[in-house]
């Protein structure tokens, strides 16, 4: 009985998210275009996330290199560290870690912001002021997350590889040009393109779930907290599921 109720709630929620996504797809290309709000959100979501994303990327590149070194030395393939780190970061670690940090920072902030706007009637006030709040708040934020996450992932990958370069040089000597030569000669188109494309989906997920949870927030401040929390949890789970699906699809079409 309890399982039935849980299943029903899960299906209900999935249906509502699907309807919300459908509304986004229906509204995003129709006028009135909230261009200035879109750019404002790009600044908040993209530019202001850069320090956190950059720092995390740097540490991941550095630590990953330091952790790999002992095993690589044992096998006598120490010179292949840049290649292995490069492929790992660009194919998987960079996109997934950046997306999860992005979900934690931006997903929760969107969920809390829209949730608090909902419970303090700011969304109603917007509607009364001749504004379509869905376009102004949801469409602008979802587009901003969708386009900003790929940019952040690219930057994070570069910073992570720079961290790796420093990591390689802690216990050895590798020149700048040799390091990058090793990284790029071992990377192929199939490593970069699918990894880059999936980040658009990750960004979309973070935006749409954060907005959905905030937009449907209720029960006062408790509801706002719950919206922020569940935005992170649901978008993180969906990021992993999407990643799994993308890997299967790219395998099927020969990009694996």
């Amino acid at each position: 009985m309890a399982t039935d109720t849980t299943l029903k709630k899960f299906l209900d929620e999935t249906g509502r998210i699907a309807v919300f996504t459908g509304r986004f797809l229906n509204e995003w290309f129709r006028p009135r275009y909230e261009i200035s709000e879109f750019f404002r959100q790009c600044y908040i979501i993209g530019y202001k996330s850069l320090p956190l994303i950059g720092l995390t990327g740097f540490i991941i590149g550095l630590v990953m290199t330091m952790q790999l070194r002992p095993s690589m030395v044992n096998y006598g393939v120490e010179s292949q560290i840049p290649a292995i780190v490069g492929i790992s970061i660009i194919r998987e670690i960079g996109p997934i870690i950046t997306a999860l940090i992005f979900a934690g920072k931006i997903g929760s902030s969107i969920g809390a912001e829209l949730g608090s706007m909902k419970v303090t009637e700011q969304i109603d006030a917007m509607e009364v002021s001749g504004t379509n709040p869905f376009k102004y708040l949801v469409v602008s934020r979802v587009l901003a997350t969708t386009f900003m996450l790929p940019v952040l992932v690219l930057l994070s990958d570069c910073i992570a590889l720079y961290g790796s370069y420093l990591g390689v040089n802690i216990k050895g000597i590798t020149s700048w040009s040799l390091f990058w030569n090793k990284v790029f000669t071992n990377l192929i188109y199939a490593d970069i393109f699918p990894a880059f494309i999936k980040t658009f989906f990750f960004g979309f997920i973070v935006g749409i779930i954060g907005c959905y949870k905030g937009y449907h927030s209720s029960k006062g401040t408790e509801g706002v907290g719950r919206s922020a929390n569940s935005s992170v949890v649901v978008s993180s789970v969906l990021i992993f599921i999407t990643d799994l699906l993308v890997v299967q699809v790219t395998d099927l079409i020969g990009y694996g």
């Binding site: 912001e113 706007m117 303090t120 700011q122 006030a125 002021s129 001749g130 379509n132």
Partner: protein, 268 residues
């Protein structure tokens, strides 16, 4: 249920008003007829009828959860009624499309119970927001003048560059009122304007409502529990009981009513 012919119930008329001086006309600005609204099995409004004339203030009185806020949200088009008609300036709100509704909303001010000031914007941006969103053709200099005029009306011109979080509860209410006034609306809907304020600040807000009404000759529908507000700001008081407009009369006449459903409201 009250007898409609009784002197204790539905009587039209205009109270002398303590400080109300704006002229009233027989021009109907809001006509609500046979309005129904339910949430699941909870029937909130049932055959609700009310007419508001230009320059008139009606205060809607009712218990918590009796549907007062639902009523004004139906009028502004934030909620869709299950049945019935709401004519605002001759246009039936539930039948309007999005564009027509936005056009109509430019003539209606709405003061939210929670003020609903945008936290991420300054006071100036909060006031400019409705001007810019309603596609009103004005220059930046005119916008500045309109913002300052609205702020001066509420006595808070010095807060123009402050953030809402820096203001006290009473100041926030005044700024929300200034935002409502910026479009010079013909009708203002007030959702519990004095809730959460101390009696002195509450009285200041009531005075401001009356002052604004006198200055701009707006019609107002005020949702309130505050008997001070009911007494000072009303031409007529509508008592909402079981989803219906149970009684509509002046404050003084309702106060002396012996109707057992009406009397408890005035015994505070």
């Amino acid at each position: 249920m009250a007898d409609p012919d009784s002197n204790d119930t539905v009587i039209s008329g205009v109270a002398p008003g303590i400080s109300r001086s704006a002229p009233q006309s027989k021009e109907e600005v809001i006509v609500i007829s046979h309005l129904y609204k339910s949430f699941g099995s909870n029937r909130v409004l049932q055959d609700f009828n009310l007419t508001l004339y230009k320059g008139q203030n009606i205060v809607v009185l009712g218990k918590s959860g009796s549907g007062k806020s639902v009523l004004i949200k139906c009028i502004i088009g934030l909620l869709r009624p299950d049945a019935g008609e709401i004519f605002v300036f001759g246009k039936n709100v539930p039948e309007l499309n999005h564009f027509a509704l936005d056009e109509l909303r430019a003539r209606i001010g709405f003061l939210f119970q929670s003020n609903a000031l945008y936290d991420s914007m300054t006071v100036r941006d909060n006031l400019e927001f409705p001007l810019r969103r309603h596609w009103i053709q004005v220059t930046q200099a005119q916008v500045n003048d309109m913002v300052m005029e609205a702020l001066e009306d509420v006595g808070l011109a010095h807060t123009v560059d402050m953030m809402p979080v820096e203001l006290s509860g009473g100041m926030r209410k005044r700024i929300a009122l200034a935002r409502t006034l910026i479009l010079k609306p013909d009708i203002i809907l007030y959702d519990e304007p004095t809730t959460g304020l101390d009696p002195i600040t509450g009285k200041e807000i009531i005075d401001l409502i009356v002052e604004i009404q006198n200055k701009y000759n707006t019609a107002s529908l005020i949702i309130s529990h505050d008997m001070n507000c009911v007494r000072l700001a009303s031409d007529l008081v509508a008592v909402l009981i079981e989803g219906k407009c149970y009684a509509l009369d002046t404050y003084d006449r309702l106060k002396s009513s012996t109707d057992p459903n009406v009397k408890p409201f005035f015994e505070q």
